[in-house]
Symmetry: C2
Subunit: 341 residues, 2 copies
């Protein structure tokens, strides 16, 4: 009834534990005949290696960790993370690695999780999401010598390699497109201001607006939730100067913004053009369908996982660039009804 061990196999096969271990691990030191016999017995009695025993003998945990720090309310609704996770998973399960997931309330809790995971040797490395400016997690993982990959962030931040995407170019492309349509009052509803990629996008937005003579280009920071997206939109549309186009930092806020515009009696795209950064099915479900910056998030996650596994294996890894988000024009963008300069 109790779980079989290699000692049981050894006894059955009439050899020593050592021989069984060699046989099961494909090491030389046993004859083909014996190996087959041992493998057959292992199969027959349903043997599985005890992961703890392996790990104790210096093996890796074969597990990577992912701690997410966003409130459940936002997490549940934002497709980004689930898509990221499924991409990571795809890469991991192909190499029979496991994923340890934890949702944490704040940065300190996240750091504690890393310390514990690594201290207890539960994971071999971690993926770090939502990089912040002077992020406290970076010195911690560096200090601990915990293999890590930053998911997102600008090109090459600090000592920890990252997987990044050129948000700046994507945003510039978007502003150029809107400007070409004739928009001169473009607002931006941004995400959390202390995230690195928010900062990168802000810089790109300002630069492009200046270059393209978009005179009025306010930015409002939010927490990425639909509620704040709606509130920001309401504020923008209630002011005396109204934008003719709004770029949202994620699709959830863009959809919420669309709702607000409609509720305020504005037509999209006639009175207001809307662009969403990140493109989930959400953008295609609403009417009008939203113009969005599309990226293959699962592929992004898979790339990050691959980099992390390489780092864990001890090879040096540098930062790599993922594909840039592509602008997919849909029904929510058009020239502004009244061209303004």
């Amino acid at each position: 009834m109790k779980r079989p061990t290699i000692a049981d196999i050894a006894q059955r096969a009439g050899v020593s534990k050592g021989a069984v271990s060699y046989a099961l691990n494909g090491q030389r030191g046993v004859s083909e005949a014996t190996r087959r016999r041992i493998l057959a017995i292992a199969e027959e009695i349903g043997w599985n290696p005890h992961s703890a025993a392996r790990a104790l003998s210096g093996a890796a945990a074969e597990t990577i960790g992912l701690a997410l720090r966003r409130p459940a309310r936002v997490l549940g609704f934002e497709p980004f993370y689930m898509e990221l996770i499924s991409g990571v998973e795809a890469e991991l399960s192909a190499r029979s690695q496991a994923l340890m997931l934890q949702i944490v309330p704040d940065a300190d809790a996240e750091i504690d999780v890393y310390r514990r995971w690594w201290g207890e040797r539960r994971v071999d490395g971690v993926l770090i999401c939502d990089l912040r400016v002077s992020d406290p997690r970076i010195p911690v993982v560096t200090d601990l010598h915990l293999p890590a990959i930053v998911v997102g962030g600008p090109e090459g931040v600090g000592e920890v390699p990252n997987v990044w995407s050129d948000d700046a170019t994507a945003l510039v492309e978007t502003v150029e497109y809107l400007a070409a349509l004739g928009h001169r009052r473009i607002a931006r509803v941004a995400g959390l201001p202390d995230l690195w990629h928010t900062r990168v996008r802000a810089g790109a937005f300002e630069g492009a607006c200046e270059r393209l003579d978009v005179r009025w280009s306010p930015t409002i920071g939010t927490d990425y939730s639909g509620e704040e997206g709606a509130r920001a939109t309401r504020r923008l549309l209630s002011g005396e100067t109204r934008p003719t186009a709004v770029i949202y930092d994620n699709d959830v806020m863009a959809v919420a913004g669309l709702g607000v515009a409609q509720e305020m009696g504005l037509t999209v795209p006639g009175d207001l053009s809307i662009v969403a950064f990140d493109d989930s099915p959400l953008c295609r479900l609403v009417h009008p369908a939203l113009t969005a910056l599309t990226r293959d998030i699962p592929a992004f996650g898979a790339l990050a996982a691959r980099q992390l596994l390489t780092a864990i294996s001890g090879q040096p890894v540098g930062s790599v660039e993922d594909t840039t988000a592509k602008l997919v024009p849909r029904a929510s963008t058009a020239p502004p009804r009244a061209l303004v300069t």
Copy 2:
């Protein structure tokens, strides 16, 4: 540089390994003075227990497993799972248990994952989602003596205890509400037909329609994706007999259905009333906001996690009922414009 072990602590404190172990685990057998000294040293040199070493000495893995079997495309977009996971997490992290997550392509892969996790003693128990009729996973976990809790499913199915919600009553309430508004042609866009809860809902729907004299009540099965929800809606609205109300098995399909209705020139709720089973922010973001059956999914997940931990601790657990989904009327339901019998 190398990670400290209890042997290091023992040496520093001038006691034996055994004494250190007793001290660190709050066991009797050491004096208070010694215990404090040992704890101080452990703290000072940054000691963490090696989870593998603990597990090898018969301790639990302190980890529970969750395998999800839905395509990434659907998973990413459906808020249900992320909300469930955050609920599970909340319960687990409060008891410093970890969550092992894996996304699997099919039932066989899922069963393999369970076998491996349990065989390697990586998890102490698992949560089983999306129970199917004569589900192959049930005999497997029973056979393996792997502690498990089924998330969802009808009341008390088979040997594995579950956490269930009374979908039947919720659906009956919905049909009664629609019938009271005057609807006599109510369609249902269902989820995967071999899931238990789909079957339960189907039975409740048919029963209620019959009782309430809803003569025309077709059901179309889907895979829960927005695409299929849209297709089903298109089919329903293109037939010669049109429904005046549609109940969708999740919110994603309901939103897609709303889009289709609008694209076909129907007004909601004038020409068509829409009700969504499951209520994410999505339902409030679209226009008109969708009437939905609301449940606290994180709480549901937390309850499931709690039950599983109880089962793992060896206490007997039975099936428990979670709260029933509540109908929240919003702008997408109204009396049909032309009352029909």
